[in-house]
Amino acid sequence: MTPRVRVQEAPFDLGAESAELTAGRADVGAVASFVGLCRADDGLAALALEHYPGMTERAIAGIAAEACARWPLSGCTVVHRVGRILPGEPIVLVLTASAHRAAALESCAFLIDWLKTGAPFWKREEFADGRGERWVEAKAEDDAAAARWARAGAGSAAA
């Protein structure tokens, strides 16, 4: 099984992406998903998401492969948007499929924790009220969330 990894400006379709992981097969008992969306905190007008073309896809493919090594997955999809994203719009999708629920749920949480700390994306916040823009700072709590997976199992979460 090869994970599906895409970095794109366009929105994604949760239902269609999920259906692709189960189409034509009857060995999938569990599909977990996570969708991260842009919140309108503090008068945010938009997020501008920048990435490192080439490295981003490599890094995500690497961690998706690690998820497949840690859990018995039958499918795995990661879609991350870049460009300008408005409040209420989706930013990132993680989908995992497995015969059993624990593998799907745990690998989905693993992947989104890692995406926060290990994939070369940067968010810039734009404000409408004359405050201009600012780069989002990395959060220590995100590092801690990613680190718990390194403690829990084999291998390193960072590519």
């Binding site: 991260g36 998401l49 920048e50 990435h51 490192y52 080439g54 490295m55 490599r58 890094a59 991350h80 930013i91 990132v92 989104i112 995406l115 926060k116 700390t117 290990g118 994939a119 070369p120 994306f121 940067w122 968010k123 810039r124 780069w135 989002v136 700072e137 990395a138 995100d142 960072a158 590519a159």
Partner: protein
């Protein structure tokens, strides 16, 4: 050697990429940071706080002591904030 900059590192340096030929004594990522800092006030500002900068060499995250070769692609950027 191709050097890439992202996010506020790119904004401070003023360009997103440049081709550089550091002298032979620039042996690793930390050495390249010191050498690049002398190229312009923008470079100096970008690298003023080395602890807030991350690096990748040939599209893999790299520590300051990572050894460099002439054909490497080296990138500098802030800690990532995706997801």
């Amino acid at each position: 050697m191709q050097v890439l900059y992202f996010a506020w590192v790119r904004q401070k340096v003023g360009v997103s990429a440049e081709e550089v030929s550091p002298p032979p004594e620039v042996a690793d990522v930390a050495g390249l940071v010191r050498w690049l800092s002398g190229r312009s006030p923008g470079h100096a500002a970008a690298f003023a706080n080395a602890g807030s900068i991350r690096a990748a060499v040939n599209q893999d995250f790299a520590a300051p002591d990572h050894r460099l070769s002439p054909g490497d692609e080296v990138a500098f950027f802030p800690p990532v904030t995706g997801g």
